[in-house]
């Protein structure tokens, strides 16, 4: 649904028929004209207006009010639930919410809830969810814009609200429930009712789900193309289930690896054969891994060939680990390293350039790379590097290049203008 900001008047230019309409004989009063516009014309105009403008327009006359309530305008809706004490943003008006539930619940197809960090907002979202009984929702998104407030809602309340939608919609294709207290039984309900249509499931950081729960989803929902979860839910069985013959090609698999405290979580390893089965089945799949671990916790990872395509290291990652990545991640497309240490990463980068032939994007912050090593890296990658985001402090001038020369040298090899990322120094 389009959300134009232009008012009603300027729409005349888009619809020439309207302009002609306006040139009617003077004995027809303007008020009669506007009120007698055909429904489909008003509908087109309304689609360009923001919700607020549309709501205002709807109180002009009965005809426009009817158009305002056309099912087509209510397919897509985003509920914004904010409290003034915890957010700077406005909330969807409670009267409007009531109207939608009363009149338009059955029209809703693409629904999302944006809540702030207050528990009340999350509870309000759950209340709305439990009232969406007669609906055919296709897309559902529960988004916490700040702190994950859904986790503060009582699990029973949340699960019962979510189950209402799972049971009644029967044609859910895309669900985003990251950072929520969803659990295994609710996933079972989801599968029981929507296994044919489910295509996308994002559930990172849902601590109440177990590997068995997500395995059930993979087993039954053969149309699943995109999945996002935490590492503890990943298992060999899951990868094999996603590679079964009946299953469609997987397009996107996102895995978050998060640690609470150093040494407290034990990370299991995934067998190489399971990864290979997945790649055989879905050769084009994007495997995205986000790491938020302490340096010493990386042991179980990348010991064998891993088909990851996008790697993000949110905290420091050791030199040795980057070396391993160069050896074992041939499908690597994007690499982001937030921090490393004070030893130059020249060797590791060059190995990555050699062996990761699909690498197109790299980002480095708080690392050290000598200028010559960096130039070597860029030379080997050449123009395939579309994203090269290096913080200025990363590059260490040496005898071959200083900071002024590095940017022209790198630009030359990349075939376009390039500068390191800068941060203000004041």
């Amino acid at each position: 649904m389009k959300r134009g900001r232009t008012g009603l008047k300027s729409q005349c230019q888009i619809f020439p028929s309207l302009g002609e309409w306006a040139k009617r004989p003077k004995w027809m009063t303007p008020a009669q004209d506007w009120g007698n516009l055909p429904h489909h014309v008003v509908l087109q105009i309304f689609q360009h207006l923001s919700l607020v403008d549309r709501a205002r327009a709807s109180s002009v006359c009965r005809c426009w009010n009817d158009v305002f309530h056309t099912p087509d305008l209510w397919r897509r809706f985003e509920f914004e639930l904010n409290q003034p004490a915890t957010s700077y943003l406005r909330s969807t008006h409670p009267d409007l919410i009531q109207q939608i539930i009363k009149k338009h619940a059955q029209h809703l197809q693409y629904v999302s809830f944006k809540v702030d960090s207050c528990t009340e907002s999350a509870e309000a979202a759950c209340d709305i969810l439990s009232q969406l009984v007669n609906c055919t929702i296709k897309t559902l998104g529960l988004i916490s814009t700040a702190r994950p407030s859904f986790m503060d809602v009582s699990q029973a309340h949340f699960v019962s609200a979510l189950t209402v939608v799972f049971v009644n919609s029967k044609s859910l294709s895309s669900i985003r429930i990251d950072d929520t207290p969803v659990d295994d039984p609710s996933l079972k309900v989801l599968v029981a009712n929507n296994s044919d249509t489910l295509k996308l499931l994002k559930m990172s950081s849902c601590p109440h789900v177990s590997p068995a729960g997500i395995l059930c989803v993979a087993d039954q929902c053969h149309g699943l193309r995109e999945l996002a979860l935490n590492y503890h839910l990943l298992s060999d069985e899951l990868l094999l289930a996603l590679s079964s013959e009946k299953h469609v090609h997987l397009e996107h698999l996102r895995i978050d690896v998060v640690s609470e405290n150093p040494g407290q979580t034990h990370f299991h390893t995934i067998k190489r054969s399971s990864w290979e089965a997945l790649i055989r089945h879905s050769p084009k799949v994007n495997i995205v891994m986000y790491f938020f671990l302490y340096e010493e916790e990386f042991e179980p990872f990348f010991c064998e060939e891993t088909p990851v395509t996008h790697l993000y290291f949110g905290r420091a990652v050791s030199k040795m680990m980057l070396g391993r990545i160069g050896l074992n991640c041939p499908r690597l497309v994007e690499l982001v390293v937030c921090a490393n240490g004070i030893e130059p990463l020249d060797e590791e980068l060059i190995r990555i350039a050699e062996r990761c032939k699909s690498l197109t994007a790299i980002g480095l912050g708080e690392c050290e790379v000598t200028c010559s090593g960096f130039v070597e890296f860029v030379k080997m990658c050449g123009g395939r590097l579309t994203q090269l985001s290096i913080m200025e402090e990363v590059l260490i001038p040496d005898s071959s290049y200083n900071m002024e020369q590095i940017h022209s040298e790198v630009s030359k090899h990349l075939g376009r203008m390039w500068f390191p990322d800068m941060m203000p120094t004041w």
Binding site: Y88, V258, V336, M423, W426
Partner: protein, 574 residues
């Protein structure tokens, strides 16, 4: 005709390179240099004791320098719009001079004063000396838009005319016959107030680490240049534990208040570079500090909403959290992360922190951990940081919270790791957080991970003597990077890292769209040409033209079929 002049000091608290003062002295009979203490100006009621002390020391220094020239500084309390009409009449003023203030509120205030001056028949002389260049010229050169990336800014600077030379320092020769009428009760009426007189509690206040004033500024400039010459290296210095401490050659607060002229600094740097590097042209990076300052002034000058998110055209609208409790913990150095707390403690005690330390705490407050609005952080810095003025402070906060300037948001400063890499021994922490002195270097950055015996030996139990960490950094940064991604995905102009899925699929569809558009255009072109050709040739060779026409039609049909196939493929992918 007797010419009585007022020179109005706001920033530019110096007698060297003060072109507005110098020009207004010429032909004047009397000169009075005034400073108006306007406590309500632009929210400066949010100014901490260190900033007030610095300002008062600057004013004392000015007064002392003017005394040497048989003049004095007149400090007047009140609002400019009230003060000036009174002064114009009382002192029979016909000339007013001041340094140009590029900030939006400054411009508004000055416009009001100009109007008052015009009504009173007072000539106004304004000169640019707080910035290296005329900012309006920079904006003009960039197509009437302020450059929004630093690199673009540097490119525009390269095309500007050279920086103007600093004006001559005010001396007896410059003053010539110009006198300042000083009354017996000058100190009572117009003297520089003390901190106590302004209502501050000065018990237990330590000596200023950064003493204010032009004299101090010029001394520091000499030391700064000496050190650079001695090192003979103009590269960016590597960050180490010592860089975190206040440096006796640091210049940023003096540039902010105008005790040191940025143009003087610029030329002295240039001269030194040419001397040491044997006449090579200095690179732009030599003036990094000055150019960043200039950049933010330029971006802010025409944007009165520059310090806000709401209504600010260059600021990304991010759904920040409202959490006064968390904000207070950050501001007061009680987050439970020693690195953050030490930095905020140094800031509160001394009024200056290293720029990388600023990055660390700003990231922690906004997009890294607490997800609190950068406007709140900006207000805290405004209160405590000596060199934070409106434009530079707001601009830097927007930059560091990735709210503007097309910043890559992937890099997050870890509140544990970053400090540990900078100062592995932890001396900085021990200096500003004495309670943690007993912790060994291994645990001083994350004392909550220290075993009980270590905590007992250090006589500091986490949770009792020092707070527990207020967030789980791994979880917080995971959630926040996700938030930033969601926001940036909706910005059509963003093409950067971390977009994984969206980047790839959008890239594909974009290419298809381009191909389709090109095909449509080429078909229209061919059709148009053929119809012209047909019209032109039809009269002479009817047979040939019809066969050509058929051929053209066939080509068009084939292209349309291709287009349909491609379009259907495009929709299938979608």
């Amino acid at each position: 005709m007797v010419v009585n002049t007022i020179h109005w000091f706001r920033k530019g608290l110096r007698l060297h390179d003060n072109p507005s003062l110098k020009d207004s002295i010429r032909g004047s009979d009397t000169l009075r240099c005034i400073y108006i203490l306007d406590p309500w100006f632009a929210g400066s009621s949010n100014v901490g004791i260190n900033r007030w002390r610095f300002l008062l020391q600057c004013l004392e220094d000015l007064d002392a320098s003017l005394r040497k020239l048989n003049s004095r500084l007149f400090v007047i309390r009140g609002q400019p719009t009230d003060v000036f009409p009174r002064l114009f009449k009382e002192w029979q003023i016909n000339r007013l001079s001041y340094e140009y203030d590029s900030e939006p509120f400054g411009k508004e205030r000055d416009a009001a004063i100009q109007k008052l001056a015009n009504e009173a028949g007072v000539e106004v002389m304004v000169r640019i000396s707080h910035t290296l260049y005329n900012l309006d010229k920079i904006i003009e050169l960039n197509g009437n838009q302020p450059p929004l990336t630093y690199k673009r800014f540097q490119a525009v600077i390269n095309r500007m005319d050279a920086v103007e030379m600093p004006a001559e320092t005010i001396t007896f020769e410059v003053l010539k016959n110009c006198v300042t009428p000083i009354s017996e009760d000058h100190d009572e009426k117009f003297g520089v107030p003390s901190l106590e007189e302004l209502g501050f509690e000065t018990e237990g206040l330590t000596t200023a680490v950064w003493p204010g004033g032009e004299t101090e500024a010029l001394m520091r400039l000499e030391r700064h240049l000496e050190r650079k010459a001695w090192v003979a290296n103009f590269e960016r210095p590597r960050m180490n534990a010592n860089s975190l401490l206040a440096s006796p050659t640091g210049l940023s607060p003096y540039l902010r208040f105008g005790c040191l002229s940025c143009r003087l600094f610029y030329f002295k740097l240039t001269d030194l570079y040419r001397k040491v590097k044997k006449n090579h042209t200095p690179p732009l990076s030599l003036y990094g500090q000055l150019l960043w300052r200039e950049f933010f002034y330029t971006t802010a000058t025409n944007n009165p909403c520059f310090d806000k998110m709401d209504g600010n055209p260059i600021c990304v609208q991010i759904p920040w959290d409202r959490n006064p409790e968390a904000l207070a913990k950050w501001a007061e150095g009680r987050t439970g992360f020693p690195w953050i707390d030490a930095i905020m403690t140094q800031l509160r005690q001394e009024g200056w922190i290293h720029h990388l330390a600023r990055h660390g705490v700003a990231c922690f407050l906004t997009r890294g951990d607490l997800w609190i609005s950068w406007e709140e952080g900006m207000k805290v810095f405004e209160e405590l940081l000596l060199d934070a003025d409106w434009s530079v402070n707001a601009g830097s906060w927007m930059w560091l919270s990735c709210s503007s300037f097309f910043q890559q948001f992937f890099h997050c400063y870890c509140p544990v790791g970053f400090g540990r890499r900078t100062d592995p021994n932890g001396d900085y922490i021990r200096r500003y957080l004495p309670i943690l002195r007993g912790f060994p270097a291994k645990y001083i950055y994350d004392p909550w991970n220290a075993p009980e015996e270590v905590q007992k030996a250090a006589k500091c139990i986490i949770g009792v003597h020092y707070p527990k960490p207020m967030v789980n950094h791994a979880e917080a940064s995971r959630i926040n990077i996700e938030r930033m991604k969601q926001i940036y995905q909706q910005l059509s102009c963003y093409r950067g890292l971390g977009m994984d899925r969206i980047c790839l699929t959008r890239g594909n569809s974009l290419n298809l769209e381009v191909i389709i558009i090109m095909i449509i255009i080429s078909i229209q072109f061919i059709f148009f040409q053929l119809s012209n050709f047909h019209e032109g040739a039809g009269a002479h060779h009817p047979g040939q033209s019809s066969s050509v026409c058929c051929g053209a039609l066939i080509i068009i049909i084939i292209m349309m079929m291709m287009m349909i196939i491609l379009l259907s493929g495009f929709f299938l992918i979608k």
